[in-house]
């Protein structure tokens, strides 16, 4: 007995839409590593994410889909910034092919895909354990988040904050110890003095 979707997600229209979105997401995902420039690759990746997010929306996972779209678009914008920063060139115009071990990577990926497909097809999936009405999805999720899963969400935010701080510390070339010395008591030593022209 095949597992079933919520009522809203049944029907041939949903399947067609899903298959379309799936094709878009896989193809654009593949394009990421095919196109010449990093800028295009970024856009392709964003497309792939958006297609998956849309598929989630068709399943009725509104919250997740929206969140994914928002996050991924933002992330791709940041990626573009980094690319320009590292490459120091106009990423849209310069062709590039920076790969190694292409054949081995392809072999590993294809083998894994074959393995996964075999596993997916052969595995005895259990039936649906009831179906949730997706109408109250968001409300239920909200209740869950604010109730039993409060700890998870509360710990996610400090972790994120700590990550941001750590990332900045890692990435910055000169810290305050470089500028003010080990005991932070020297006058600042900057290659170019900042501030208001003092």
């Amino acid at each position: 007995m095949p597992p079933s979707l919520p009522a809203r997600a049944r029907g041939s229209a949903v399947i067609v839409v899903f298959l379309l979105l799936a094709a878009v997401s896989v193809v654009t995902g593949a394009l990421v590593f095919v196109v010449d420039s990093m800028a295009r690759a970024t856009y392709a990746l964003a497309c792939s994410f958006v297609a998956v997010a849309l598929a989630l929306l068709t399943f009725g996972l509104t919250y997740l889909g929206v969140i994914t779209i928002l996050m991924m678009v933002m992330e791709m914008a940041i990626m573009a910034v980094f690319m320009i920063m590292f490459m120091g060139m106009n990423p849209a115009l310069m062709p590039m092919d920076m790969v190694h071990g292409k054949r081995a990577a392809l072999a590993v990926s294809v083998a894994l895909f074959a393995l996964l497909v075999v596993g997916i097809v052969v595995a005895p999936w259990p039936g649906a354990a009831g179906s949730a009405s997706t109408a109250s999805d968001i409300a239920a999720l909200g209740h869950t988040l604010m109730g039993s899963k409060m700890l998870v969400m509360m710990s996610v935010s400090p972790i994120m904050f700590a990550t941001i701080v750590g990332g900045v510390v890692l990435a910055s070339g000169r810290t305050r110890y470089d500028r003010f010395g080990d005991d932070l008591d020297h006058p600042a030593q900057d290659p170019t003095p900042g501030g208001v022209g003092r």
């Binding site: 997600a9 997740l64 895909f113 996964l116 649906a128 996610v156």
Partner: protein, 100 residues
């Protein structure tokens, strides 16, 4: 519309991302591959949750996965910037410090 279909699509996304992560030399491109893998993961997790155990708890797991994605990106970029600063390179091949 079956679970297997969605899972196959997710597997395809995952494997495409894996190919990227394995084959790219530039750190940013490797990270793109990782993002794609996580993308497939999100799709698969969402499908399994939806098809097999549609309770809000699973959705929380997905949110955590998304958070981990952003953390991974942030740390990855921080490390990439650090390597770039120290060595003037953005190629993974140049950072072979872990070679045994």
């Amino acid at each position: 519309m079956t679970l297997q279909l969605v899972l196959v699509v997710a597997a395809a996304l995952f494997c495409v991302g894996l190919y990227g992560a394995l084959s790219q030399q530039v750190v940013v491109m490797v990270m793109m591959g990782l993002e794609l893998m996580l993308n497939g993961l999100v799709l698969a997790a969402a499908a399994i949750w939806l098809f097999l155990a549609p309770r809000p708890t699973g959705e929380v797991l997905l949110l955590v996965v998304l958070a981990v994605m952003t953390l991974e990106m942030a740390m990855g970029f921080a490390v990439a910037v650090l390597v770039h600063r120290r060595r003037g390179s953005d190629m993974t091949d140049m950072a072979g410090d872990l070679a045994g």
